[in-house]
Point group: C2
Chain length 454, copies 2
């Protein structure tokens, strides 16, 4: 109790060495795929595991667009962290917003309560939205990273329809123009999801509205959608979206966003009150804080540079996994920011942390690429295997549903809730079209207090 | 298009007499039980029905406490209004907050858009919380009227447990004391629901916390709980709550609420950061506006005085139904503010509106009392029939579940969602224990602009 370090441990509820052996504490920042898998991989180990996140739930990010398009309820894609780990004795959770890390003192600084001491740290803080400096995009655009984003976007879209129904003259002003920026998986899935919400559900909800005046416009800066995929799958994606009525515009860059329109690089503008920003991600701002306060090197997209063992250089007890990690394959290419990489890195980081506590050397991360897939809408999806084999259409869609159902089932163990989810998904039963206002969560973390570095 | 009245009708999307017969428009304020049943009763009639509400969904109020105690998801008890009325051709909906009514000009003034013209009006705006002037109650207490209230309370309760888990010293300061004011159905159901959330779910979520230190305290000013019920059912309710660990305190009045404690009339105080205010309701503030701007008489609880036909005196085309209605039975006793009365009054008001348009005289409202019931917790409920027959315990609970399941099914037609709900309810499967911040909805309506009365 004499030094401030022990005092900190005491307030954290961890006993210091008064007759008890000190178990190493592994702190995991983030409840996303990386953090979740890291904690699971530490099950049964002789360590204390403490996950820190500002939300008390894990969200199944790949289906977040379904919440935004009224397809699923928030509860369908969120699971309380404590529920997931109810059977894991060495697990505890801290609801807190991380402000920064003092690597030398081995402390995680949080907004709520005293700093948290760690013996090993796994940083899986994920990514936030990148606006690339486009004027007005952050202020007026709708991102889609958090549950609150999805609920807010859902409410906004439904309000646009209520507005248009009240006063059809507003349609001229673009109230029913929905513009999505970014032709990657999020943008493509949102475009398809919106089109189906409009054509299959809202068409019945608003019999007095001319639904043919609703426009879904997908803007992509490059000359193709779904860039990492093979060319024929890119073309298929564009054709499939156009088939269901999405206006796809390639080689179209946004220069400015205002409350009433989106301005394009060619000098034209699209009237809209709904600009969905799916154009890119940037590492969680925690990476910037670590760069500023601890001199940690960042790479493309703000990601934290790691060695092949997923460790921060010079800090062998600090691991980075998932979207915030700037780990590179043996050819020096950064791993893609996808769920599979996060899952595998989370497991590897946990394994290397345990090996270190056992006095063993670390193992290099080897990515087992399982391929990639995305859905374009009901019955249409694309899939590409690591060997270059591509699949598209209904078979790919069945594969997509199967994989996502199995993955979701992995963290859901209530059979009835699970089947309700499957039912909702399969039938496109969209009762959650509720306008409930939610305070936006923030991906911004506050500047660390001076004491963090001092 | 010449007069301002026609202009208003045009912007409302209603055609004026250019070759078309003018169909009378019945405007219904409120999407609660009264408004919902009124609109349903108008199905097939040769009128235009327009429901106005600031939420786009009907909520099943009797199960709101289940959302607050993580038992059900919001989507389980909410149904979009447009979904309910998808098959009703003469129905339309306006998402708007009502500011006031100009009874002479037959206009409903709303915050969003131009005023809405009506030929007949049915006011079913419901009730808001009554704080009876208790200092700090509105500021620091948690009401339970809206979906946002329930989501906010749920997040707060879960945060209290997270706080206590982080720093058990806070338990001394009352972070795990949950105080409920009001021993009516809402207070009793909340007390039982919280106790079960704590003992059956959070006990497993927080293995490091001493759950025996969690206190649920129910305060009632009178000398019995569940006042309108027979004495033996009141006693049973108290015994049943105490059996599951609720600290019931009768003849206990609250004088002040602060962020950290509740002060009582006897000079003592209870340390708590969670004061749930279930002590009473008052008519929606729209009633006060009608009193101030239109001179309409109010009775107990601010309710609008009506004649036996549910009409505002002197305004035969304006009907009032549900919690905001101050209708009295032939003995002059006000009807209770319960769902059954709202449902029956909504139907009666709609019927009388139609009769008036057909040139028929109105029919007096006769309440068909079906009895009352309330649940105390799993397997325990009370029930009293109009003839004075009482029931309690497991049989009453089965009856309660049956009635609520049937009623909820009445507005839910998705079999799988419905069974998921039944499953969740029966198994006490509480996965929706999510902390998602919601902006509180407001029951306050703004002061009408001067032009309303001028």
């Amino acid at each position: 109790m004499a030094t401030s370090a022990t005092a900190i441990r005491s307030t954290d509820g961890q006993l210091s060495a008064e007759g008890l052996v000190h178990r190493p504490r592994i702190v995991v920042i983030g409840s996303g795929h990386a953090g979740l898998e890291a904690c699971k991989a530490l099950s049964g180990e002789d360590v204390d595991v403490l996950m820190v996140d500002r939300n008390n739930y894990h969200k199944f990010q790949p289906l977040l667009y379904q919440v935004a398009t009224s397809g699923l309820q928030t509860g369908h894609i969120c699971m309380p962290v404590r529920h997931i780990f109810q059977q894991q004795d060495n697990f505890d959770f801290r609801l807190a917003t991380v402000l920064g890390v003092d690597l030398e003192a081995q402390l995680v600084h949080v907004e709520e309560g005293p700093p948290i001491h760690y013996d090993s740290l796994i940083i899986g803080a994920g990514a936030s939205v990148a606006y690339y400096g486009v004027e007005g995009a952050e202020e007026h655009g709708f991102p889609l990273k958090n549950v609150a984003d999805a609920v807010e976007l859902r409410a906004h879209v439904l309000r646009c329809f209520e507005e248009a129904n009240r006063n059809p003259a507003l349609i001229e002003g673009g109230v029913l123009n929905f513009v999505i920026v970014g032709g990657g998986p999020t943008g493509v899935e949102m475009a398809g999801g919106l089109r189906e919400l409009f054509d299959q559900v809202l068409r019945k909800d608003f019999p007095g509205l001319d639904l043919n005046r609703v426009r879904v416009i997908l803007l992509e800066r490059a000359d193709a959608l779904m860039l990492p995929y093979k060319a024929d799958l890119q073309v298929y994606t564009k054709d499939a979206l156009e088939h269901i009525g999405v206006d796809v515009r390639l080689e179209t860059a946004v220069t400015e966003v205002t409350p009433t329109e989106v301005r394009l690089a060619d000098g034209t503008a699209i009237l809209t009150q709904t600009l969905i920003w799916a154009a890119g991600v940037r590492a969680n701002p925690l990476a910037d804080v670590l760069s500023e306060t601890e001199g940690i090197e960042q790479t493309r997209g703000g990601r934290l540079v790691t060695d092949e063992y997923l460790r921060l250089p010079m800090h062998p007890n600090v691991f980075v996994a998932g979207d915030i990690a700037g780990a590179a394959d043996p050819q020096g290419v950064l791993y893609p920011q996808v769920a599979q990489v996060a899952i595998q890195q989370g497991i590897q980081a946990a394994g290397n942390a345990i090996r270190a506590h056992r006095g063993l050397g670390p193992e290099a991360f080897v990515y087992n690429d399982l391929g990639m897939m995305a859905t374009i809408g009901r019955n249409r999806a694309i899939l590409e295997l690591p060997n270059g084999t591509g699949m598209k259409g209904f078979v790919a869609w069945c594969a997509w549903v199967f994989v996502h159902v199995v993955k979701l089932a992995g963290f859901r163990n209530q059979v009835a809730v699970f089947f309700s989810w499957v039912y909702s998904y399969i039938t496109w039963d969209r009762t959650p079209r509720l306008i409930i206002d939610v305070e936006p969560e923030t991906d911004e973390i506050q500047e660390p207090a001076l004491s963090v570095t001092g």
